[in-house]
């Protein structure tokens, strides 16, 4: 297999424009002859489905949720970046592009990132036109705030619920098309396989989660916008149902999986409290705008934080990174927190936490000001921990949050399976080895509103797609395979619940493939994960049957894929003998404990091709060329 990224010719600022002109178009009258399947209804999938329907295509949209509005995009708190330069502080498309490439530690594709920065402004316009209630200033114009990894204020926000408001905007566009009948929405439908005809993606197999019915659906092209795979760690800030199944099944059908080891650990999450913990809760990174991170200077100091005088506190981010201070990128902030805790400076009952302190800003601007800005986050914190952050500093610790890796796509967002397009977090995307805050929402909406509507037309206009029906053997066969796999799982009737095994996998992943990795640990993971996989296929206990509402079966089927993915992540992390962004290999660090890249050998995206699942995936490399941004060691000092 040869990876062809199909990056257009020309200077980076002209590539997208040139490409838009050179792409083939589907004539308006012909659009209604094409069916497109969109799996996932979050920012990327929902915006794609709505926009394609507006253009005239027939869209079938699938979600395992009961409603498109439940997609996990809704949980994004902080904001969305755009290069509007409204605050007049020196922002530009080029700067957003530059910051994103740099923030991604030079493992992203320049052309894609530039395009992302280019369309970022259109996204804000679009959302405002939909009635998204962004924060405004007294003059009535839009307000901005700053975020990690940037020295300009370019983040648009809607209190601490930006993801919610953007998703509801997408949802409104989607229901409008559902109302016209151009989008047929299938709620509570889990996509369990894609169907290929003549090597091209032509449909999906789904299971109706309420009735258990397994059916297939055909189309001329398939779009996956099914989010990230952070739940491979069991504990993450992802929603409970977030999973890799759609991506993984596509991977098994020939779509390369790129950079699976690039995982983002978010620095500001509420620490784990006990073994029963089911998920972790993020406190928006925007808190770092006004909160100060510190640990006691003396290791093991367990005084009440309010009794520790200023000179006995180590504001380590401000000390280590004077120019970015508390606003260093997420990977840096996370790793430093871990380092402080490893050295014994951690706080709280588990000693796996650092303080995020608002005393200064409360003193400076008053409690009301803080509450206006962060009230909902403070309430949430108090709800979960039972502590009042207006009075005692918050305790935070890093947690798995986002996965930069995903299915490999070319410039047109098409995977290595022709006709199979991948959007949003599900693709390996534009964030390289680390995503900057407020960029996930930007990317999801850019892909769905402004990129795929163009590029999918180019694919469809090339023709060569014969008529297919779900009664064809290919579809029937695919349905049968899905059914057999579920029956096999159900028949095991072992002694371990899905959660038991998932927790074990999570522990292995966090321990060996987590925030800091090393060769020994990764090899250990590669030993342990296949054992867990065996355990699953021998001992899993799933109640009930296929043809009924069966949440345990859903979870089991997702865990089966996580078990395979976990292995690939470890393998990818092991092969990448460098540290970059979210991938930190302990063997490769500078004297100051910063990530040490190896540009000589690893300036590529690692795209893994499935090869029977016996631990021998094939590695394909997409060399990354940096014509615009010169590769330097990231410095936030």
């Amino acid at each position: 297999m040869i990876l062809n990224s199909k990056i257009p010719e020309g200077p980076v600022s002209q590539k997208w424009n040139n490409h838009k002109f050179s792409m083939k178009l589907v004539n308006p009258a012909n659009k209604r002859k094409y069916d497109i399947i969109v799996v996932g209804s979050g920012l990327a999938g929902g915006s794609a489905a709505a926009t394609l329907a507006e253009l005239g295509y027939n869209v079938k949209a699938f979600s395992y949720h009961e409603s498109p509005r439940r997609a996990h995009s809704i949980a994004a708190q902080g904001g969305i970046n755009a290069a509007k330069n409204y605050p007049n502080d020196g922002d530009s498309i080029y700067r957003l592009f530059y910051d994103t490439v740099k923030g991604g530690d030079y493992r992203a594709r320049e052309a894609n990132v530039y395009r992302l920065a280019e369309v970022s402004n259109n996204i804000i316009d679009q959302c405002v036109a939909q009635g998204v209630p962004f924060a405004r200033e007294y003059g009535g114009l839009l307000d901005n705030r700053s975020f990690g990894g940037a020295q300009v204020s370019r983040t648009f926000y809607a209190r601490g619920q930006t993801g919610q408001q953007l998703l509801l905007g997408v949802y409104s566009a989607l229901v409008r098309q559902m109302n016209t009948g151009k989008v047929q929405f299938f709620p509570r439908h889990d996509m369990l396989d894609i169907v290929k005809v003549d090597g091209k993606a032509r449909g999906v197999v789904t299971r109706n989660l309420e009735t258990g019915e397994i059916t297939s659906h055909s189309a001329h092209a398939v779009i996956l916008a099914t989010g990230g795979y952070g739940n491979v760690f069991f504990l993450s800030t992802n929603a409970m149902a977030s999973n890799v199944t759609a991506s993984w099944r596509a991977h098994k059908q020939g779509a390369c999986f790129a950079n699976p080891c690039f995982t983002q650990i978010h620095p500001t999450c509420i620490p784990v409290s006990s073994d029963h913990q089911s998920k972790l809760t993020l406190m928006s990174e925007s808190l770092r705008n006004d909160g100060r991170v510190w640990v006691p200077k003396k290791a093991g100091d367990d005084r009440n934080p309010n009794n520790i005088p200023d000179e006995e506190r180590d504001y380590y981010l401000e000390r280590l990174y004077p120019s970015f201070g508390n606003l260093v990128p997420r990977d840096v902030a996370s790793r430093r927190a871990k380092e402080m805790c490893d050295k014994g400076h951690g706080v709280g009952p588990t000693k796996l936490a650092v303080y995020l302190d608002f005393a200064d800003v409360i003193h400076r601007n008053g409690k009301d000001w803080v509450s206006e800005k962060y009230g909902n986050l403070f309430d949430m914190y108090r709800q979960i921990t039972g502590e009042n952050p207006y009075e005692t500093p918050m305790k935070i610790y890093p947690a798995v949050h986002y996965t930069m890796g995903g299915l490999w796509v070319d410039y047109n967002l098409m995977s290595t399976v022709p006709g199979l397009h991948v959007l949003g977090e599900a693709n390996f995307s534009d964030h390289g080895a680390n995503r900057l805050g407020a960029s996930a929402l930007m990317q999801g909406l850019a892909d769905g509103y402004f990129i795929i509507p163009y590029t999918i037309g180019d694919y469809l206009a090339q023709g060569g797609l014969k008529e297919v029906r779900t009664s064809d053997d290919t579809f029937q066969h695919a349905e049968r395979l899905v059914k057999e796999s579920l029956e096999k799982m159900l028949a095991i009737k072992g002694s371990k619940t899905v959660d038991d095994i998932h927790k074990e996998l999570g522990k292995v992943m966090w321990e060996y493939v987590g925030m800091a990795r090393n060769k020994e640990g990764l090899e250990k993971a590669l030993e342990l994960i296949p054992k867990l996989k065996d355990d699953f296929w021998k001992n899993v206990l799933i109640p009930g049957g296929i043809n009924e509402y069966n949440p345990e079966l859903e979870k089991a089927s997702r865990l089966a894929d996580f078990l395979e993915l976990g292995e690939l992540m470890a393998r990818d992390a092991l092969h990448r003998e460098e540290s970059c962004g979210g991938h930190f290999r302990e063997e490769f660090q500078t004297e100051e404990n910063e990530a040490k890249r190896n540009d000589e050998d690893f300036t590529y995206a690692a795209a893994w091709e499935y090869n029977g699942g016996d631990g021998n995936p094939l590695l394909h490399k997409e060399e990354l060329k940096f014509d615009e941004v010169s590769l330097t060691t990231r410095s936030y000092k």
Partner: protein, 245 residues
């Protein structure tokens, strides 16, 4: 601590349901309510019984998927909190928690505590949008919006569509849900063009779905996890009258 869970069990839409009681031991107060249910379910599974089904997803109070009636209170006893954010420190050793699904004709039970809220989506389909297609919209700062209006619109837009309003209402009325969406657009310049048709269509669909009539008891406001005000219902009434005459 020890908690007695008395849960509604119902196999599917067409079957009769009943309550069953389960003791849960070793509940710690740091656990969330759902983590307590997770623990119970894990035990039920090992005992060869069917786990209790309930809807949940983000577990951070924003997706609107969860919703359980706990001792007669939508999302439990706390104010401004979804079920997933409720922690066991709100209860004490020996408490019995009667947990029931949202009850409303418009929200049929799918399994145990899981209900079908697709009626909300259909109400939204009827008009919960501004008819702008992607592209061709003006610059975001072309129309200034009074900060107060933007803030009020946001307060209304904070609705997570969980259905607690319908569940808590003795009439299963969806006025708070519909009022919140109608208000959001009525307050913003972008919503003006379709202001009249929107409210008429959404109310029309709301009635078709079989939600009850509002009698202004305000139970919805009390139980709304996002504390959305019944002022939005007043605004909905006003908008509807204005649009009709």
């Amino acid at each position: 601590m020890r908690i007695i869970v008395q849960a509604w069990r119902q196999y599917d839409r067409n079957s009769e349901g009943n309550f069953e009681s389960y003791p849960v031991d070793n509940v710690s107060e740091d656990m969330s309510f759902f983590e307590m249910l997770d623990m119970l379910n894990n035990q039920l599974l090992k005992d060869g019984k069917d786990p209790i089904s309930f809807d949940h997803d983000c577990r951070e109070g924003i997706c609107g998927t969860c919703g359980i009636m706990i001792n007669g209170r939508a999302h439990g006893p706390l104010k401004g909190v979804t079920t997933c954010q409720l922690h066991m420190r709100s209860f004490k050793d020996g408490d019995t928690l009667v947990i029931e699904p949202w009850r409303a004709r418009a929200f049929p039970v799918i399994r145990d505590l899981v209900v079908d809220r697709s009626g909300f989506d259909r109400v939204m389909e009827a008009g919960g949008y501004v008819s702008v297609s992607t592209g061709g919209v003006p610059d975001a700062n072309v129309i200034p919006i009074l900060k107060d209006d933007a803030d009020s619109a946001f307060d209304a837009a904070a609705c997570i569509g969980c259905g607690a309003c319908v569940a808590a209402c003795k009439n299963s009325s969806a006025m708070l849900f519909v009022g919140a969406k109608v208000s959001q657009y009525a307050l913003l310049p972008q919503g003006q063009v379709e202001r009249k048709s929107r409210v008429k269509n959404m109310v029309g669909q709301m009635d078709v779905e079989g939600f009850g009539n509002c009698t202004n008891t305000s139970a919805c406001e009390v139980e709304c996890p996002k504390e959305i005000s019944v002022e939005n219902i007043a605004r909905l009434n006003r908008e509807f009258v204005k649009a009709s005459f």
